[in-house]
Structures are given as structure tokens and as C-alpha cells.
């Protein structure tokens, strides 16, 4: 499947092709389950690509494979033309400044025994930034994600879910990466918090030109932040294209099913959608 729509930037940043990831290894290899069955996706500089699907579709697996957190069975992941599929930990260090992550669960994604300042400064210090420079950078980061400057000396448990997610975003931004993998960054948050975090992510992208690989189960969320969308189902991409097109006039039956299943916050329109859904399911 090739892409018709032009990406935001033309320069390719991340290129994943025919990626296969299996669960289980060693003696039981024969019973391995395929988590990804030859997935290809690309992200251009400054672009958001949404990856949508239900649990078990492989969307999170894809994100983790890109980050080097999972071993890849076959296929390639290349970053700015460099093959990073099987990089060792030491070799990944140069990549850490390029590629970062924001996870779903704002509770387990921050070390409870470190202050916010320590959390934000750690990646900087490991990359050799001096302690004084790291300190001033932390202040800039806190400001960038809309947290007060005194947040640095506090512990993660003193913050709410939305605020923690801001800290996690600040940590991802610390090294000024070119790509952030966002794994369901808003699905654990309240609705009014959700949109604030999404707007924050979009605003940061507009200012810094960072690209997002945005994993979510929610078509509305993906439509709101993404330029392009890929729909995953059982370890494969079943549909891809412009975000608005895919989320309003889907071509693949699964995407249609997904769209029809999401209830609309309007009693009358939802009643219509229910009928539409019944019609789609019936035939």
C-alpha cells in the first residue's frame, strides 16, 4: 500500500519495513505467536503518524520494537537511513538523544524515589551535560510543559495523573529528540485533561518540529493529533492514509466497524449511528 497524501515534511525520519515480531522464544519457538506480521510504516520529520487499533492488535508492540525494547524477528527499522534494527545498548546511546518515549501509565512511568528535577536531569547528565546546564534546562522544560518552576523539587506522587504526564513529556523532550513514540499518552486521563495534553503535544510539535509516532485505541484522539493514520488489526496494518479521510470515510471493513462502535456524545446522532452499525454488521 503506498501513500497518496504528501507528508508534512518530505525528509523521512523513521522507516519500518516488513517488521515481524514474535512472542516467546527458545525451545517453544514453534508455538510462537506473531505479534507483528510484516508491518511497514514511515514517519517524516515534524509529522504525527497515528497508529490505531484495539488491544492485541500489535500497535504497542510496534512502538516498543522501534524503541529497541523488544527483539525483532525479521524486517528492518531504519532511522535517518541508518539501520537500527538490532542495535546493542551501547550503540543505542547515540540514538537516545534522537528518539524518546511517553508511556500510557503516568503512575508507573516516573520513578517514585526521584524528584522531578532528578528525573528530568538524568538523561541530560548521562549524555554529558554539566550539572549547572542541566539545572537551567530543567527549568526551561518545566516551563515548556506548563508546570511551575518549583515542581522540580517535588516527588512524582505529589502530582495528579495529568501533571505526571506533563513530567513524562518533559523528560522525553529533555534531549530535544526528533521523534517521540507516544504510547496511549492520554488514555489514562480524564477527558478535560486529555485535550490539554493533546494540545500541549501539538503545540510542542509546532514549535520544535518533533515527529510523533502516536499509538492510541481512540479514533477521535488520533484524528485530533495526527497527519496520517494507520489502522492495525491482528498484527497487520489494514488501512492507512490521511487522518481525516480514514477517520471519516474508512475503506476497510474493520476501520468501519471501529468507527461505528465508538459512541457519539449526542443522543440523536448516536441513535442513528446505532442503526448504521446494525446495518453494517448485518450485511
Amino acid at each position: 500500500m503506498t501513500l497518496v497524501e504528501e507528508p508534512v515534511g518530505h525528509e523521512s525520519l523513521l522507516d519500518v519495513s516488513d517488521l515481524v515480531v514474535t512472542y516467546g522464544r527458545g525451545r517453544f519457538a514453534r508455538r510462537n505467536k506473531l505479534a507483528l506480521k510484516g508491518v511497514s510504516i514511515d514517519v517524516a520529520v515534524g509529522e504525527t503518524v497515528g497508529l490505531v487499533g484495539e488491544s492485541g492488535s500489535g500497535k504497542t508492540t510496534l512502538g516498543r520494537a522501534v524503541l529497541g525494547l523488544l527483539p525483532v524477528t525479521s524486517g528492518t527499522i531504519s532511522y535517518r537511513g541508518r539501520d537500527i534494527t538490532h542495535l546493542g545498548r551501547r550503540e543505542r546511546r547515540s540514538l537516545a538523544a534522537e528518539m524518546q518515549v511517553v508511556f500510557q501509565d503516568p503512575y508507573s512511568s516516573l520513578n517514585p524515589s526521584m524528584t522531578v528535577r532528578e528525573i528530568l536531569a538524568e538523561p541530560l547528565r548521562v549524555q554529558g551535560v554539566s550539572s549547572a546546564d542541566a539545572r537551567s534546562r530543567v527549568l526551561t522544560l518545566l516551563d515548556q510543559v506548563g508546570l511551575p518552576a518549583d515542581a522540580g523539587s517535588r516527588m512524582p506522587r505529589e502530582f495528579s495523573g495529568g501533571q505526571r504526564q506533563r513530567v513524562a513529556i518533559a523528560r522525553a523532550l529533555a534531549l530535544e529528540p526528533a521523534l517521540i513514540v507516544c504510547d496511549e499518552p492520554v488514555s489514562a486521563l480524564d477527558m478535560s485533561t486529555q485535550i490539554k495534553i493533546l494540545d500541549l503535544l501539538v503545540g510542542i510539535q509546532e514549535r520544535t518540529g518533533v515527529a510523533y509516532l502516536f499509538v492510541s485505541h481512540d479514533l477521535e484522539v488520533v484524528r485530533y493529533v495526527s497527519h496520517r493514520v494507520a489502522v492495525m488489526y491482528h498484527g497487520e496494518i489494514v488501512e492507512r492514509g490521511d487522518a481525516a479521510a480514514v477517520t471519516t470515510a474508512p475503506q476497510h471493513p474493520y476501520t468501519t466497524k471501529l468507527l461505528m462502535a465508538a459512541p457519539v456524545p449526542d443522543p440523536d446522532r448516536q441513535a442513528e449511528r446505532r442503526l448504521e452499525r446494525a446495518a453494517v454488521l448485518a450485511g
Binding site: 524503541l67 546511546r93 508507573s108 495529568g162 446505532r274
Partner: protein, 590 residues
């Protein structure tokens, strides 16, 4: 999770509250006393021998088995040596023995535990085997055997005991690491390409240190007792005074001096007791257990009995469920009541679906649980009235509530899987309440259960009936729970976020099932949810909650079309539905 509220996570790491835990420990009188006693013992061990006026090795014939006197304050032993001097001199080897053994055990156990837990696989397996092997060796026999080879050697005993105790540290550390290593901050550290040593030190060891420190304290007391035991059976160095050997000496001459055995025995007991109490206080401080919390719970129970003095002014309406001025609170350690629901009133009519909507912390679930009297420990209805068909539920005891739950008011929970018993088949879990509640035969109950499974659109009811919970999906489990909820023909169903944990396609199916059942049986449904799409799909009326209070109540169409309360408007404005897509927004601005 709203941005305003400050919440605490239930994660393990919560316990590593910097100096917080230590300060909490000092606030606990028992902990403070034990710590002071322990401090004195350590000071005596460190400096006591320097201040001795009687040489602990010097024997005076006139003091053999003497009673306490001016020269020997605690009397003399069987060789005429000063018991007090020997106690003080022996404290050093006792404390040192305990700490050194525990330290050796900790260093070996923790480092291997960290490595095995973090790296896993074959290293974990190998070290696990070795640890098991050391664990099955009887330490007493090993030390007795060693004594016959090397003779008395206190240092060697400490070291070997340390090695024997190491597996307990290894096991504890390994299991803690396994719990912590799956945390996302460890993954984030890996993405930042932090070296393994830093990840293990800063992101794993720092988080699990609390339980390890506690274990160290316990192991110190264990090794003090074990070493005193060895000395008592004569496996110590006869030239060095120790509490264990003093005890042995005193026992041999117990008919000549009946108090001599008291002093070393007391010294061992006090030291070990102080260590154990410090350990207990440390554990409470790490778990953040307030010693006053127990009293607060007692007060809560008493208050719960004495409550129900307030009679709300509102008359009973014809509603099937009526909630008036409900206040739900949690008793705090300082006697205050933390209100999570504050003056909530609404009613639910027969055949009506009411949505209880709000963000996390709004008190919607607390309201729902208080109707069923299923509030978590510490929580209670402080004021207000809950009436089911005109009957005030407030005065009912647990037996009366059991007769109501499931039969008149049923409950559908948020987490379907954790609400099924993993050890029993679905069919049993479904049929048993029917048999007991409706007093029908086993066979008939099973038939009813099968027909219920069919009614919740399960295609192969018999297969699900014969399955265990782990063999079915989350969506299937929720169908089973809905079938269970309607099994005893209730009039009211309280559904707490019934679709939140499910995929969107499964959610749509569950909503269909709920709608059909509600229509067929004319059920009154109280639907707790944060999702306005679900509200629009199912509800007739909506109660919007904010911070424990009702912001707005109204017909579902009115709430969506013309929200009156500013909070409702904020929620509506935060909805993504109908907003232009990313590219459309960019085009407008460009």
C-alpha cells in the same frame, strides 16, 4: 485523574518516601523507644570496654559465684570474674556478630538478587539453584562441622553464617526486582540508553531499599540468636567473653548462683527485642500505617452505629431509588472526616436509565457503592438517606443488605475479570446464587444460567458454562457478570463503568446487551461513567457530579444541547467529537 487533585499512587515505590519514613518511625512511641534502646546497646558495644574498671578476664577467688556486691555490681561467675564487665565486653562481639553476618548476607544476597532479577533467564536459574542448595544446608550442622576443623574462630562463624543467610536476601531481592523491573520508568531509562549499573542502582535498588533495610534488621536479630546459641553449646572462643558463653557458664553453676544466668539472658533478649521492634516500626512507617488509624476505625464503627439521626426534609417520591443529601466520608487518623460525597440527591424511577457522570475524584463511584453498602474500609454514610422503594436502607444490617443485593439491586463492576473467581467454573458461579437465592433445584438453576448466557448474546452458552474465567475474554467475562446481575430478577442495576476496561467494539456489544435487557425487563439502571458517548447511547437522564457535589441534573438531550452548569460546559467543550482534524486545523490557520 483531573489535573487539580493531588493523588497518591498505590505503587510499591511509594514507600521510599525519603526521610518521611524515618520521621514517621520516630513519631511512633514504640519505634522511638526501641531505637533508643538499640542506640544505647550500640554505644555500650563501641565505648563500654574502654570504661571498664574490672578486667573481664581477671578471676578473683573471693568472688566465685558471688552475689551482687560493691566490687562486682552484678556478682561474679564460676571463675570469680566480674559479670558486668564480661557483659559489657561481650556486647561488642554480639553486636558485631549480628551486623557482620547480616551485612555479608545482604551484600551477597542483594547483589545476586539484583543481577538475577534484572537479567533473568539462565543466570537467574543458576543462581536460584545455588541459593536453594545453600538454603537446604542445616546451618547448625555446618558450623559444628566447621568447628571441629578450624577450632574456635568468631570471625569465621560470622562469615559462614552470613553466607548461610544470604539466600533469604537473594529471594527477597529477586522477587522485589521482578515486581519493579516491569515499571515503565525502567523502560524509559532504557530508551535513554542509561547504563545497566545506573538503571539497577537508581531505578531499581533505590525503589526497593525499604523492604531490604527491614530484612537487614530482622536478619541481624536472627544471627545474634544463632551465634549466642553456638556459644552456649560451647562452640565459641573460650578466651573471648560472649553472652552465649556466659549463659553456658551460669547454667553450669545454676545451683551455686541463681541470678548469674539472668544477666546474659536479659542482654540477649533486650537486644533482639529492640531489633524486632525497630523492624516492626520500620515496616509500619514504610507501609505508612498510622498507629492511630486503628482507633479511627473503631471510632468510625461506633459512629456508624450511632448515626442516622438526620432526617432529610424531602418527602418520599414514587421513585424506585431515592438518594437524599447523601454525605459519604472517610475517617481520618486525626478524627476528621474526609468527605468524598457531599450532599448528593437524585432519584431513579422504574424503567429509567440515569447516568452518573463525572471525572475521577468526583465521587460518582462512592455514591454508587454507598447505595449497595459496599464502601471500602473506613468509608461510611455520614448523613443523608438512601431509600429503595420507600424503604430506608440506612437502618438495615448486613444480613438484610445481603437479602437486597443481587435480588433487588444488582451490581455490574468495572473490572470483569477480577470479579470472577478464578478457581470455579463460570457455570457454577452463575448457577449457585440462583439456586440459593431463588431456592430452586441444582438442575433448574443450571438451566436458568444457560438461558441467561444465551440472553447476553453468547453464541455457545454450554462452552462458556463449562469454562474457567481465564479461558474467556474480558468482553465475555463482562457478559457473564451482566447475566449474573439479572439472574435473580432485580429491579435496579448499578453499573460502575461497565465498559471502561473493554475495547471499543466490545463496548458497543455490551451497550447493546444492556439496552436490550433494560428494555425487556423494564430495569432501572444507574450507570456510572465518564464517557459521554456511553451516556448518549444509553441514558434517559444525567446527574453530573463534580468534587462530591451534584453540578447539574437533567434530561439527556437537554444536558447535551444546553448545559447550564459551567462545569458541564467545560466537560462538553473538552470533547474531541466534531472537532476539525489536525490537517483541517492547520489549513485554517495557514
Amino acid at each position: 485523574m483531573s489535573e487539580q487533585t493531588i493523588t497518591t499512587s498505590p505503587a510499591i515505590g511509594q514507600s521510599v518516601a525519603r526521610q518521611g519514613a524515618f520521621r514517621r518511625m520516630l513519631a511512633n512511641p514504640m519505634g522511638l523507644t526501641a531505637l533508643v534502646v538499640l542506640g544505647v546497646i550500640i554505644l555500650v558495644a563501641a565505648f563500654g570496654p574502654l570504661l571498664l574498671w574490672n578486667d573481664p578476664g581477671h578471676a578473683r577467688l573471693d568472688q566465685v559465684n558471688s552475689s551482687p556486691n560493691a566490687g562486682y555490681l552484678l556478682g561474679g561467675d564460676s571463675a570469680g570474674r566480674d559479670i558486668l564487665s564480661r557483659l559489657v565486653a561481650g556486647s561488642r562481639i554480639t553486636v558485631l556478630g549480628g551486623v557482620v553476618s547480616a551485612a555479608v548476607a545482604a551484600v551477597i544476597g542483594v547483589s545476586f538478587g539484583l543481577a538475577a532479577g534484572y537479567k533473568g533467564r539462565s543466570f537467574d536459574l543458576t543462581v536460584g539453584w545455588i541459593s536453594d542448595l545453600v538454603m537446604v544446608l542445616p546451618s547448625t550442622i555446618v558450623l559444628v562441622a566447621m568447628f571441629t576443623v578450624t577450632g574456635p574462630n568468631a570471625v569465621l562463624v560470622m562469615l559462614i553464617l552470613g553466607v548461610m543467610l544470604a539466600p533469604s536476601f537473594f529471594r527477597l531481592t529477586r522477587s522485589l526486582v521482578v515486581q519493579v523491573r516491569g515499571n515503565l520508568y525502567v523502560d524509559a531509562a532504557k530508551v535513554s540508553a542509561l547504563p545497566d549499573t545506573r538503571i539497577v542502582g537508581r531505578h531499581i535498588l533505590a525503589v526497593i531499599r525499604g523492604p531490604l533495610i527491614l530484612h537487614f534488621v530482622l536478619m541481624t536479630s536472627v544471627s545474634i540468636i544463632l551465634q549466642a546459641g553456638f556459644q552456649f553449646i560451647g562452640l565459641g572462643d573460650p578466651n573471648v567473653p560472649t553472652w552465649g558463653s556466659m549463659l553456658q557458664d551460669a547454667f553450669r553453676s545454676i545451683y551455686l548462683s541463681d541470678t548469674a544466668f539472668v544477666w546474659p539472658g536479659l542482654a540477649i533478649a533486650v537486644t533482639v527485642m529492640a531489633l524486632l521492634l525497630v523492624g516492626n516500626a520500620l515496616r509500619d512507617a514504610l507501609d505508612d500505617v498510622d498507629p492511630k488509624a486503628h482507633q479511627a476505625r473503631k471510632r468510625a464503627a461506633a459512629a456508624a452505629k450511632a448515626q442516622r439521626s438526620t432526617v432529610p426534609a424531602r418527602p418520599l417520591s414514587g421513585a424506585i431509588l431515592q438518594v437524599d443529601d447523601l454525605v459519604v466520608g472517610y475517617d481520618q487518623a486525626d478524627g476528621e472526616i474526609k468527605k468524598v460525597v457531599d450532599g448528593v440527591s437524585f432519584e431513579l424511577n422504574a424503567g429509567e436509565v440515569v447516568g452518573l457522570v463525572g471525572e475521577s475524584g468526583s465521587g460518582k463511584t462512592q455514591t454508587a457503592l454507598s447505595i449497595l453498602k459496599l464502601l471500602p474500609t473506613g468509608g461510611r454514610v455520614v448523613e443523608g438517606r438512601i431509600c429503595l422503594e420507600g424503604q430506608d436502607l440506612g437502618g438495615l444490617d448486613e444480613d438484610a443488605m445481603t437479602a437486597i443485593r443481587g435480588v433487588r439491586v444488582a451490581y455490574v463492576p468495572q473490572e470483569p475479570m477480577s470479579n470472577l473467581d478464578p478457581t470455579a467454573k463460570i457455570g457454577t458461579q452463575l448457577a449457585e446464587p440462583i439456586r440459593v437465592r431463588l431456592k430452586v433445584s441444582r438442575k433448574e438453576a443450571a438451566e436458568r444460567a444457560l438461558s441467561l448466557l444465551e440472553q447476553v448474546n453468547i453464541k455457545d452458552p454450554q462452552r462458556v458454562f463449562d469454562s474457567y474465567p481465564h479461558e474467556i475474554s474480558g468482553g465475555m467475562a463482562q457478559r457473564v457478570l451482566i447475566a449474573g446481575a439479572v439472574s435473580c430478577d432485580p429491579d435496579v442495576i448499578i453499573a460502575d463503568e461497565p465498559t471502561t476496561a473493554l475495547d471499543v467494539t466490545v463496548q458497543a456489544e455490551i451497550l447493546d446487551i444492556l439496552r436490550n435487557l433494560q428494555g425487556q425487563r423494564n430495569l432501572a439502571v444507574l450507570l456510572v461513567t465518564h464517557n459521554f458517548g456511553v451516556v448518549a447511547d444509553l441514558c434517559d437522564r444525567v446527574v453530573v457530579m463534580q468534587k462530591g457535589k451534584v453540578a447539574e441534573t437533567g434530561d439527556v438531550r437537554r444536558i447535551f444541547a444546553e448545559p447550564e452548569h459551567p462545569y458541564t460546559r467545560t466537560l462538553m467543550a473538552a470533547m474531541l467529537d466534531g472537532r476539525p482534524s489536525r490537517r483541517e486545523r492547520t489549513e485554517v490557520t495557514a
